[in-house]
Assembly symmetry: C2
Amino acid sequence: MQSQIHEFVVRPIGYVLDEKDPAEAPPEVKVVEILPGFARGLEGIEQFSSLWILYWLHQLPEETRSVLMVHPQGDRSQQLRGVFSTHSPLRPNPIGLSRVRLLKREGNLLYLANLDAHPGSPILDIKSGQ
Amino acid sequence: MQSQIHEFVVRPIGYVLDEKDPAEAPPEVKVVEILPGFARGLEGIEQFSSLWILYWLHQLPEETRSVLMVHPQGDRSQQLRGVFSTHSPLRPNPIGLSRVRLLKREGNLLYLANLDAHPGSPILDIKSGQ
């Protein structure tokens, strides 16, 4: 294997807002605020009803990145399995992936259903149409 | 919006091999080599026929990360659109996402169909079963 760069930097393009903010969103809806510097990247997104959201699993301590085997769903009666063959949030690069429904866009706010991310999660990317 | 961490570091867990290596793979098949330190994370992955692969778009110069509007498919007859509503590889966090078929695993080598990544691309994560 050739010589390689061994790390890359990712930066949030926005965040999942706290559940009560804005107050009018129903509880199953999560609101993502895209930072003003990235808002132009949203142009045309209204035409998609489904999106992929990539986010950072920011609540995990750094040492969980070295975990490579887990009990699926934390169930110790199940055999240990490699993290890449589970849904575990413990993984070397703690990036979450959710297929969401885009309910509404208001400027740089996206109202989303089915987003697994917790409030405060940094959003890394939004992908559409696949 | 509360105070936040503004960058995170991701590290390759493996790489897409050059097309001729190993020589016996047919051209539409891409081979990913997972680094020995992460190989245990693959345990149990054989039970999945489809996987999500997250990879780093390593061939793009750093300045393409500031591009927020593109002509879809590079077609200048189409109106400029925000990168989050296109498939463009130009995006603030150049992470690629492919839904692949797992054809075979040989130790820390994965033989994959439908992987869009170029040879040499760093692999960031593998997700299964969603």
